[in-house]
């Protein structure tokens, strides 16, 4: 193994690291010189540029990778024709032995970078509206994005742990960034303690797997576990690792932290939690499950994923029923969506892995629309659903946008959310997972209730209709949506409205990357 083997494929990360250090120095030097919040705005714009450049680098690598694999497919065909020894198609490229890229990793990186850039655009006036002169907020988001890039390209148990730690440590600090508010501190503390517990589980699992196999690299583990999967220690280690990843995904038996953390953190940070890290952890989980732990898939891991899917569906449906605050409700909705994603993951065919990615991309788009609305409507920390009463009269366009987003999340047919649920259920029924499918449909019906309840508040209640005792003077009268937010809302609404009509390009693309990963 050479020290700098394939270091070319780490260029996006290297650029991001350099930019983070430069921005940190810039922030330290200049944060005292200029106006209180204008400096933060500048750093945010520079960070958006950084993410854009990094995503361009990743795009370049995607093209190069496709080119390389095409060549190797041709070489494979040639060698078959010439009946030589079979050249194996490279499914991934290793960086210095412990990291690696394949097409799934690269596309995931691209999605992470774009969605993080959108979050930064949404947080342009975060400092002014929260009266926070902490430019580190932007840098922490960049650092957690760096952690996610490392996490998805981890090809070694130690790399995986380092990536997860970098992500979670940044997220703990982000949850508590509004440190004067008690809710924010509480959220950060809860997130930190439970996250440290799950990191401990991950380490324990890695240790067990290492003890019983003597391997930490994914390639070595996959060949070892494929042939010897009878050791109880290996099984226990794999279970602990999967549980730790499910914890980070806020899937159901391990979801306890999610509603409190979602509610307590500042809304923009909650949006970041809900949108960006999930796809990174999910891709790491898929790389882990269908790489090194594939030998144990039928030995219990599949049932763990399916049980967690069922529990997430039920908790997501029932937990959201009695919520009065929008952020908690969206937290339970995220748990429910994670149930659908895990259901597709547990089905474990090529089609259902495609459904996983279709679902998470649609989920990201719908979440971007939903959280942009929440950010624009609710100023300050109050986010009662009752505050939305009569929104259709004061802000008809915004109300319609929110209503369409919620219909899509509930899975009403002409919208995007229906299609992703349809794909997941189709895959599950094809593989005789009838009970879980029935639970999924029932949970979807139940969860439609609380989405529709918000729409009822907006359309069928008067502006004076709410009678919560604390909510006398907080009816939303004036909503201003600035240009970047309007653009983001418009584009995501366009996707929500049209993805059902012509989803083929997206489906083909995702099928290509998934088959490139699996085959």
């Amino acid at each position: 193994m050479k020290y700098s083997e394939n270091i070319y494929w780490a260029i996006p990360e290297i650029f991001l690291v350099t930019a983070i250090v430069a921005l940190l120095a810039y922030g330290v030097v200049y944060s005292k010189l200029e106006g209180k919040y204008s400096q933060q705005r500048k750093i945010t714009w520079l960070s958006i540029l950084t993410l854009a450049f990094t995503s361009i680098l990743v795009l370049d690598q995607i093209q190069l990778f496709l080119h390389l694999t095409e060549n190797s497919v041709n070489a494979l065909a040639d060698s078959i024709c010439a009946s030589k020894t079979l050249a194996t198609r490279p499914s991934g490229i290793y960086i210095a032995g412990v990291f690696g890229v394949d097409i799934l990793t690269l596309v995931t990186k691209f999605i992470i970078l774009i969605s993080a850039a959108i979050i930064l655009i949404l947080s342009l006036d975060f400092y002014a509206s929260h009266r926070l002169a902490i430019y580190e907020y932007t840098l922490l988001i960049l650092l957690s994005v760096l952690g996610m890039l490392i996490l998805v390209s981890a090809r070694d148990l130690i790399s995986l742990y380092l990536g997860i730690e970098l992500v979670s440590l940044s997220l703990y600090v982000l949850a508590g960034i509004e440190r004067k508010r008690q809710y924010s501190t509480e959220a950060a503390l809860k997130y930190f303690l439970l996250g440290a517990l799950s990191s401990g589980l991950l380490l324990m699992g890695s240790t067990l797997i290492y003890t019983f196999s003597g391997e930490t690299t994914f390639s070595g583990l996959s060949s070892f576990l494929w042939y010897s999967h009878d050791d109880l220690g290996l099984k226990a280690g794999a279970v602990l690792m999967v549980v730790a990843m499910l914890f980070k995904l806020a899937a159901a038996p391990f979801h306890m932290w999610a509603p409190d953390v979602y509610e307590g953190s500042p809304t923009i940070v909650t949006a970041f939690f809900a949108i960006v890290p999930k796809i990174a952890v999910l891709t790491a989980l898929i790389t882990l499950l269908f790489g090194p732990l594939l030998g144990l898939w039928n030995e219990g891991l599949q049932s763990i994923i399916l049980v967690s899917a069922c529990a997430s569906l039920i908790v997501g449906a029932l937990g959201g029923l009695n919520q009065t605050k929008l952020k908690r409700l969206l937290a339970y909705s995220a748990i429910g969506h994670m149930g659908f994603i895990l259901l597709a993951l547990g089905t474990s065919t090529l089609w259902s892995i495609q459904a996983v990615y279709v679902y998470i991309i649609y989920y990201i788009i719908m979440s971007i629309a939903g959280w942009t609305m929440a950010l624009s409507i609710f100023k300050g920390s109050l986010n009662y659903i009752a505050q939305l009463s009569g929104l259709s009269r004061t802000q008809p366009v915004l109300a319609a946008t929110l209503a369409l987003t919620l219909f899509s999340m509930a899975g009403i047919p002409p919208l995007a959310g229906f299609f992703s649920k349809y794909l997941v259920l189709l895959g599950a029924i094809d593989n005789q997972l009838y009970l879980v499918s029935i639970i999924a449909v029932l949970a979807s019906v139940v969860s439609a209730f609380y989405y529709l309840r918000i729409i009822k508040w907006m359309y069928f209640k008067d502006t004076t209709d709410y009678h919560y005792k604390d909510l006398v003077d907080v009816s939303i009268t004036k909503i201003e949506v600035d240009l970047p937010r309007s653009l983001i809302l418009g584009v995501s609404m366009w996707f929500i409205l049209t993805l059902l009509i012509y989803p083929n390009p997206l489906l083909n693309f995702i099928f290509d990357i998934v088959s490139g990963f699996v085959l």
Partner: protein
């Protein structure tokens, strides 16, 4: 052989006894002290196993940082002695059950023969230790491997430390209320302008 075995029993029992004293001591400062003793015993046990690096790391991190942090917190909170309000014996049954289950699980795991194989990292380390630095111990060998072949982990770990540093600053530094001495302003103040009349 006999001496090392005797040392093992001495320090293992020392770790157990001081571990028990941590939770049974009335005075919190005594608890922290016994925690330090337990850590030191464990570190010597690792030294007996021949892993000098881990042993010294244990000493630096746990005794040097964590236990001292505990001590600071205990002293700042000014707790003289914790009142044992409820009888601790009522936790014995549940503790016994959980401990029993844990022991049975460990027995099931260990009883099936553990086949360990050294990883690439350890092999490289041992390689360096044997080939290049036969007498320098595993600290040199780990350094030789960690700073060359596995330098990426080292870099990523450094960024985790950077996040910890930024996080500590973000969560604790008061930007508005930091009082600094303005030396230039003090020196440049003119005698006649120091007192002014505000109407």
């Amino acid at each position: 052989m006999l001496i090392s075995e005797a040392l093992f029993w001495i320090f293992a029992s020392g770790a157990l006894i001081s571990g028990f004293l941590v939770i049974s001591a009335k005075n919190p400062i005594h608890s922290v002290f016994f925690l330090v003793v337990a850590f030191a015993n464990a570190s010597i046990l690792m030294l007996l196993l021949g892993v000098e690096f881990l042993s010294i790391l244990f000493l630096i991190v746990y005794v040097g940082a964590i236990a001292i942090l505990f001590l600071f917190v205990v002293m700042m909170l000014n707790i003289k002695s914790v009142e044992m309000a409820d009888n601790a014996t009522r936790y014995v049954p549940i503790g016994f059950i959980i401990g029993f289950i844990f022991l049975v699980e460990v027995y099931i795991l260990v009883e099936g023969s553990i086949q360990t194989r050294p990883s690439a990292f350890l092999l490289e380390t041992a390689n360096y230790e044997i080939l290049w630095y036969p007498s320098s111990g595993n600290i040199t060998a780990i350094g030789q491997v960690l700073y060359t072949e596995y330098y990426i982990w080292f870099l990523v770990a450094s960024f985790i430390l950077l996040v910890a540093m930024i996080g500590a600053i973000v969560l604790t530094l008061e930007h508005e209320s930091v009082k600094r001495q303005d030396i230039f302003g003090q020196i440049a103040t003119e005698y006649k302008k120091t007192i002014s009349l505000n109407k």
